[in-house]
């Protein structure tokens, strides 16, 4: 199989001539080269990886993106596109002396088409703004990563973002109809169309989730969905997450497809309570089930869900009685990661997936693994689709504990793969899990993915040295969690 030529990845800085070309591409007010300003772009939500880029460009149009990418292509300068920088796997980490293409200024909603149920947006549009725009017509944009109040659609496309409601509504790719993409050679092409089944390969399907390694999207056509007539959220308290997990299996077995099913364990409940006072019942395993649809259907299914909770020994069952109460329930859930800071000095956020039925077994094994090294692991997960977010708690101040925590979080990922799952359900591989991808896929699988990479980016300049395992055999360092600047500023809750 042919290998990509390696780009000029080892340069230490951009030349004055290259910077002049970038300035010409985006205009003087679209270029950042001062060190203190560049520091804003040295990491994303995975803050322990930091690399200072050579320059940041802030294009306002697809043409400016093209011009900037052409400069990079001409000199084989690595580039990475960036939205709000909320990613949790280091996907937006710059290359040293590379260019960051920030899409923050391309933040217009270009078209809203209610009869055909789509919107056309620029990549810098914030996820929640799409829903805000179409809500008056009774529609919403379904993918809802917890950072949705700040994260951008361009970043969602790169990561194929999910959220709690993808159990029913699917992921970013489910809702992406068409994309304009600047390829790594600077060509501007269109994948897909607002109408279905555009002839040719499904390049939009391939591009979504490619973590910035295939090009830069400059325009996205998103499907919007009719808001359901009724949304109801139930909380049920169980003695253990395993009992809550059994209830999830029973709900699925009964043929129901709730819009979300989430489980939190004691540690996670404690942390969330301390942070946002969501009035969760204290218990070993808290189950949150959201049902939506026609009112009459939701009422019937809620009745069934209650019965299944009772059957599995729920000690308390509550249905949020108002929209305010429902939002509070979700606020607690969405704040769970950031809230860990209240019960532990440091922690690592992981993102693994297992077949749903492996849940009790995997939770027991995680407990055992944690106890063996004297650490605590809090569990918050999208139980409906088996997406675990184990949070490994530790104290950096205790010598050697960080290494043990990193090793544990890494072994948890391996456990997920061993049980037939995946190393990432929504955070992406990025910088953090490159080696773990090599644990999940064999060499021929990875070589085949490289065929796609090389067709799009033969010089390997688009977000190089991400996603795929490096040739050298060094272990990954899954990062300890450090608060994102947005989070510190109180703008966002991240996970």
């Amino acid at each position: 199989m042919s290998q990509c030529e390696s780009g000029n990845l080892f340069a230490t800085m951009l030349t004055a001539a290259q910077i002049a070309e970038l300035r010409a591409a985006v205009g003087p007010d679209g270029l950042i080269t001062g060190e203190s300003q560049l520091q804003t772009y040295e990491c994303d939500g995975l803050t322990n990886f930091r690399v200072l880029p050579g320059a940041v460009v802030l294009p306002r149009t697809a043409e400016q993106v093209q011009a900037a990418v052409r400069v990079c292509a001409r000199h084989k300068i690595p580039f990475v596109s960036r939205g709000a920088g909320t990613g949790l796997s280091g996907g937006a980490l710059p290359a040293a002396a590379g260019v960051v293409i920030s899409l923050a200024r391309m933040n217009r909603i270009l078209e809203v088409n209610i009869p055909d149920r789509y919107v056309v947006v620029e990549p810098g549009v914030i996820n929640a703004h799409v829903t805000q725009r179409v809500a008056p017509s009774g529609y919403f944009y379904a993918p809802d990563p917890s950072s949705q109040s700040v994260c951008t659609i361009g970043g969602n496309v790169a990561e194929n973002s999910g959220g709690a409601h993808c159990l029913k509504y699917g992921f970013t790719v489910t809702h992406t109809l068409a994309l304009d993409v600047v390829l790594p050679n600077g060509d501007l092409v269109t994948f897909g169309s607002p109408a279905l089944d555009a002839p040719g390969y499904d390049l939009a399907g391939v591009f979504v989730g490619s973590e910035g390694t295939l090009g830069v999207t400059t325009k996205i056509t998103l499907r919007i969905v009719k808001r359901p007539e009724v949304v109801q959220t139930l909380l049920a308290a169980f003695a253990s997450p395993q009992a809550a997990g059994q209830t999830v299996s029973d709900i699925i077995a009964a043929g129901m497809l709730p819009s979300a099913m989430e489980i939190m364990d004691t540690l996670a409940i404690e942390a969330a309570e301390a942070a946002v006072h969501a009035h969760y019942p204290m218990c070993g395993g808290l189950l949150l089930v959201e049902l939506d649809g026609p009112a009459i259907d939701v009422a019937t299914l809620m009745h069934e869900t209650r019965a299944l909770c009772e059957k599995n020994g729920a000690t308390e069952i509550r249905v949020a009685q108002s929209e305010h109460e429902r939002m509070l329930v979700w606020k607690g859930r969405k704040a769970a990661f950031a809230a860990m800071g209240r019960i532990s000095p440091n922690y690592i956020v992981q993102d693994g997936v297992i077949p749903r039925t492996a849940l009790p077994e995997v939770l027991t094994e995680i407990d055992r693994m944690a106890a063996a090294v004297n650490l605590r692991v809090a569990n918050v997960f999208h139980a409906g689709d088996g997406n675990l977010h184990p949070l490994v708690l530790y104290d950096h101040a205790i010598a050697g504990q960080e290494e043990i925590a990193i090793d544990l979080s890494y072994r948890i990922l391996h456990l997920c793969v061993d049980k037939g799952g995946s190393i990432t359900g929504e955070h992406g591989v990025g910088k953090e899990k490159q080696q773990a991808l090599g644990y999940m896929f064999s060499e021929p699988d990875l070589a085949t993915m490289q065929l796609i990479r090389c067709a799009f980016d033969p010089d390997s300049i688009a977000n190089p040295d991400k996603v795929f395992p490096r040739a050298r055999l060094c272990a990954d360092r899954p990062g300890p969690y450090a608060p994102h600047p947005l989070e510190t500023a109180g703008v966002a809750e991240i996970f």
Partner: protein, 413 residues
Amino acid sequence: MPKAAARTLPLALTDALPPLAAIAGAEHAHLNDDSISISPANAGQIAAILGFAREHGLAVTPTGAGTKLDWGNPVAPRIRLVLDRMNALREHSWQDMTCGVEAGCTWATMQTALARHGQMVALDPLWPARATVGGIVATNDGGPLRIRYGSLRDLIIGMTVVLADGTIARTGGKVVKNVAGYDLHKLMTGSFGTLGVIAGVNFRLHPLETQSRTWTAEAADPSHFEAPLHALLDSYIIPSGLQIRIDAQHCALDLRVAATPACLDEHAAELTRFFAPISICESSETVLGVRQNLFDQSGSVLLKASLLPSRICSVLSQLRAWSAAEGTEFTAVAQGNGLVDIACKAASDASIALIHRLRPQCSSVVALQLPAELRNRIDLWGCSSSALPLMREIKRRFDPERILNPGRFIGNI
């Protein structure tokens, strides 16, 4: 991965048979007039067959039951790679609502097995009793259920593919939520066998729809459905099938909804309101199967058009007018999501004229099936995608010797 072998002189089929028979067993390799049919037992044998084909420059067409072999540009393969022996449902993790199936399994066989646990792959393709998983995926087929559950892109969670150079690659996995690595399976879905041979597919499953009702409204012209269709699509009703079927004389709208009985009763009342003054009556869900009839008409020109849902009624009205003007006999079934299948029986010139008239009105019009004499008169795929050079490059990377269905796909890929 093996290096590309130098292409040797064309091999006579009689000489190619023994080495191929050695791979799959003599009883599984047959000489036809113009090709060899060979049925591999596993992905390893597919790899060996492709290796042989590549070495000798023999074009290969992967096939299941052959129900859609006429779709796309014609290919004259020397090897017909028949997946009929690879027909097992390997795994049905019913509690996880996933399954893994070999590509040669027929759709109906798979669905029957899944139904034992009240589950299904939520797709209703053509010829379910004969068509195989691999062929359905390669052509990205799907019927009325798409409006509720999406297309194969949304239902496939993993795949095993054999590339032209013999590489056996897995992509995705067995879990519904997974963003690790590139989604090769999305590239393979709808690629018409031009990038690799699909050996196995993993699906996410849905519960069978146990309670449903179907309604039908008739009108003189599709324009009468414009307002009710808009109201319906903007309502809380979630269709599991929505189509307008039309020919020169008849025009009807069919709607199928799966929900609880009480909910269906509510919908019935709403529908009467949406459709007034047209009457809408309860009918049988078999009406949703009418798409199949179009594809069963032999000798027809078959078109797959795609348009925005808001344009369905006006384009169907135009289609009827043009057909009358051109003197063609046509039948069309438009799904509520904007995918329209059109069958027409017409003289050559009239058929070509109809396609030319339709194309500017639609997002795309692919001539899935054309009589042989028309095939060189029009571009079947009818598309000038800005991404075509990239698609060619992908083909070049995956199949540099062009042995897999050469020329069949868009842009003669």
